[in-house]
Structures are given as C-alpha cells and as structure tokens.
C-alpha cells in the first residue's frame, strides 16, 4: 500500500516535462523520484493509502478511487489538480500503456494533469473524470466507463462536455435506456458512430440541445424525456 500524495507546483511542472520526455522516447516511465521526493510532492493532511492494482475497466478504477478519496473532507476533493495529477503519475503504467513496439505515446497533458477550470477537460482526465462521473451517476456511469483505463470514449465526449447535461440524472438515465446493453456490459452495437445516423448517440446529443431551447431538462424525469424524443429513438429502447 502507498500513502497518497499531492504534487506541488514544481511537481506539476516536472510531471509535464516527464510527459514530454516519455513522448520523445528519452524516458520509459514516470521516475519514482517524481512520485515520492518531497521537493515535488507531499502527503495529504489526511493520510490515505492506495494499492497499485490493475483495473480492467475505468468503472472499476472509479469505484475503487471514489471509495478511498471520497473520505477526504475537502469540498473539491474530486477536482483537486495536485492530487489527481499525482494519482495519474502513480497509475501512469495503466493510463499510458506501451504499444506493441514497447513505446508509450502520451496524449494531451490534460488527460494526466487535471485541468479543473474547464469542464470539458475535467472529464478527459483519465482518473478524475471516471470518479466524477461515478460520483454523479453511480451504476449509470458504466455507459461511460466500460472501457480500458487509457480510453475515454465517445460517450464521454458527446454527453459529458457540458455540465448541465453531464450532471443531469434524467438525461444520463435515458442514455442508459437507449444505449446500454446489460448482457454484454457494453454500449449497444452501432450506438456510437461518427455519422449522424437516426437514433445514434450523436443524434441524441443534438436533439438534447434542441430540446433545451423549449424544455428545462433539469425539471423533466427520465420517462418524460423519453416521451419527448423523436420516433427514431424507439428502436433503441426496444433492443
């Protein structure tokens, strides 16, 4: 077990630099010194421990980290840049696994270094994002978190980018009714396509933005929202 720490500003800078060095192949992994040297990080005031376990899905990681970090007293515990960036460095092996040639290819920094100012970036963080989604939606969060640790997926991009939608329980419940397959524990086949096919996830996001002009989506229930959807979505409800 490891005591959770938080980066200081120097630690954040060094983590950023580390990502560059990994990107150009000068480094293979996050150095242990970056994680535990007091020049870069410090333990949390409230001592918490985590295990470097392997998670098969983002949902598993969210449940585990939500349980542990949930006990923190801080109001912004799920949005704390220093903590979540340190955790990303700690779990970096899983967040940025090596490809077939053994090379790691880090994606944008905000996937590892939490940008807590921009809602659409918060959800792209590969650890804080899943935990916040799970905190809002519990079981319904599986639709967004069924995939491996290093992927965020189209459902996050289409529905989590705006806080009004991302935190709306009725919207997320309806998205589950439409697109989640409880047998395969994955989204239904064809739900997420890059084209605007009838009843697809992208159409759902578009229809929501149209409905918002007429309806206060915070006031409607999941059943009411289903009734407001055009007929093209019916076949997804039946599947």
């Amino acid at each position: 077990m490891t005591i959770i720490r938080r980066f200081n500003s120097e630690g954040i800078k060094q983590f950023q630099l580390t990502l560059r060095l990994i990107e150009d192949g000068s480094l293979e992994a996050v150095p242990t010194e970056l994680l535990y040297n007091d020049s870069f990080s410090e333990p949390l005031p409230q001592s918490l421990e985590i295990e470097n376990r392997t998670f098969s899905t983002r949902y598993d990681a969210a449940v585990y980290l939500h349980t542990i970090l949930g006990s923190l007293k801080s109001r912004n515990k799920f949005y704390d840049m220093e903590i979540w960036s340190w955790l990303a460095a700690f779990y970096f092996d899983q967040l940025c696994p090596p490809d077939k040639e053994g090379k790691r290819k880090p994606k944008s920094d905000y996937r590892y270094i939490l940008n807590s100012r921009d809602w659409d970036r918060i959800f792209r963080h590969l650890l804080a994002g899943p935990v916040i989604i799970f905190d809002f939606h519990q079981e319904f969060a599986k639709l967004f978190l069924y995939n491996p640790m290093d992927k965020s997926g189209d459902f996050v991009i289409q529905l989590m980018g705006r806080q009004e939608i991302a935190t709306n329980k009725a919207v997320i419940e309806v998205a589950n009714k439409l697109y989640w397959d409880p047998k395969t524990l994955r989204p239904k086949r064809g739900a997420s396509t890059t084209e605007l096919k009838p009843g697809s996830l992208r159409r759902f996001a578009l229809i929501l933005s149209q409905l918002e002009l007429t309806y206060d989506l915070q006031s409607v229930t999941a059943d009411e929202l289903v009734r407001l959807l055009p007929a093209e979505f019916r076949r997804w409800l039946k599947q």
């Binding site: 100012r117 002009l213 006031s219």
Partner: protein, 268 residues
C-alpha cells in the same frame, strides 16, 4: 442579414429586469442575490422561477419561488460553492411551467452579469470578462460563448503575474486589446451577421460600445440583396479599420503608453 427566429413561444426576459449582485465578496465562495421583475411579461403565477449560475466550466441552480411569489432561497443556500470562477460567472433565469406541460420554458434570459456587491452600487457589465484556461503554448485567445466573447489567458502564467499584467501592463494592453477589438467586430459582422446597435444581444452591446467611442463614425447602412445577404460588407470592414479601431486606440492612447514603456516614461 441573419435574422433569428423564436419558434418556441418562449418569452424573452429583458436583462434589465433581473438585477444580480453579490451579497458579500469578503466571504468565499460568494453568495449572490437577485431582484427580479416579471410583472410586464404576463406569466402564470404558479410558474417556477429558477436562477442558474454558470461559467465556462461549472454550473449551479437555485429555486426562486413562483412568478406570483418570487423569493430567494436562504442566504447560505445562495453560495456559489460549485462555481469555479466568480470573476466570470454569469446568470440565467428560467420561468418554467411545471403544472400543464411539464418542464416547458415559458420565459428566460441568458448571460446576466452581476452588478457588483449591492444593487445601488451598480457597475457596468464587463464586455470582455477574463478567464484563465490551459492554452498550452498560446498566451491568449478569444472564446465565444452564447453570452459573448471572453478573453482567455493561459492559466500556466498565473504564477508569473499574468493576472496583473492583463489589467495594468501597457505593453500587453496596447498590443493585445486592439487585436481583440478587431477580431470581435469582424466576428460580429462576418460570422454573427449583426449590423445594428439596437437589441439585447452581446453583439448589439459591442456595437453600442464601439459606436460610442468619441471619433467613431456611424455604422454603415446595411444593403441587402433579395435573399437578405449583405452586399456592402466592405463598408463594415472599412468602418472597423478606419473608424472604430483608430478611435479606440486614440481614446486609450496606446502608442503613447507603449512609447512610455519603451523609454521608461520619457516621451518625445
């Protein structure tokens, strides 16, 4: 000219009917209150009134009673606890029918800025709120939201004093703000298709601001073809280059200020 149609039957609440202010800025997170006047809109008395606070990344919602009995929640329940930047916070008011057609928006207003700390000490709404974001290697950029443009500054420079620089540094101000004004005015004409000062939109507010600068000539008259497309866009571009920009730079004496910075306060 692009005209906007309202197919929803939703009424527009004039922003001047909703006065939002912070109660006490010494306490963080701030608590807000609002004075709301809906009398002229003839809305059903039992419709619900909701205030929503938001910035680019966060959102909160507050129940303000019903049209016939508007009352704010208790002060401690009006704290903007989930709003990340109270500098750039905006408010939206929605009047919602929850009796007949459940959830239908009957009236609303968007992009309402606070009027300072008390209603009587009202300040002008900032036309260009400053927000801080991760812009990687960019220093600044303009972001356009439904309520208008925001000047986004790279938050990685916060530790190096960028917040103060944006407000007071003559180098920064004299080099960045004229470009900002040019880009916003170009956007208003070329993308938003707005050519008049009358109205309640952010584009109208910006055009009012630009035309009120001493030395700026009147806006050109838009000439439309049969399809409503503007034929004299060049006149508007020229108006930016020859009227609005020079007047703006003259008003704030950018060259003089820049020169002072260059020569340590000794002008020619």
């Amino acid at each position: 000219m692009i005209r906007k149609f309202n197919y929803t039957g939703r009424k527009k609440i004039p922003r001047s009917n909703v006065l939002v202010y912070f109660e006490d800025t010494t306490k963080v997170p701030h608590s807000f209150n609002a004075e709301i006047n809906l009398e002229s809109l003839k809305l059903p008395g039992n419709a619900e009134v909701w205030m929503e606070a938001y910035d680019t990344s966060s959102y909160m919602r507050f129940f303000f009673g019903q049209v016939a009995d508007i009352h704010p929640p208790a002060s401690d329940q009006r704290r903007l606890t989930d709003i990340h930047s109270t500098d750039a916070v905006r408010f939206r008011i929605k009047v919602i029918d929850n009796s007949e057609k459940h959830g239908r928006i009957l009236a609303w207003a968007n992009g309402i800025a606070t009027k300072g700390t008390q209603p009587e000490t009202s300040q002008k709404n900032p036309l260009l709120p400053v927000i801080y974001r991760d812009l990687e290697q960019e220093i600044w950029r303009l972001e356009y939201h439904p309520e208008g443009p925001f000047l986004a500054i790279n938050q990685q420079l916060l530790d190096f004093g960028i917040r103060e620089l944006v407000r007071t540094d003559n180098y920064f101000i004299s080099m960045v703000y004229p470009s900002v004004i040019r880009e916003i005015l170009l956007r208003i004409f070329l993308i938003e298709g707005v050519f008049e000062t009358e109205g309640d939109s952010w584009e109208n507010d910006w055009l009012k601001f630009a035309t009120q600068i001493p030395g700026t000539g009147d806006l050109p008259e838009p000439e439309e073809d049969n399809a409503g497309k503007i034929q004299n866009m060049d006149d508007f571009i020229e108006w930016i280059d020859n009227e609005a920009l020079p007047a703006f730079c003259k008003k704030f004496e950018f060259r003089d200020k820049f020169q002072q910075e260059l020569f340590g306060g000794i002008g020619e």
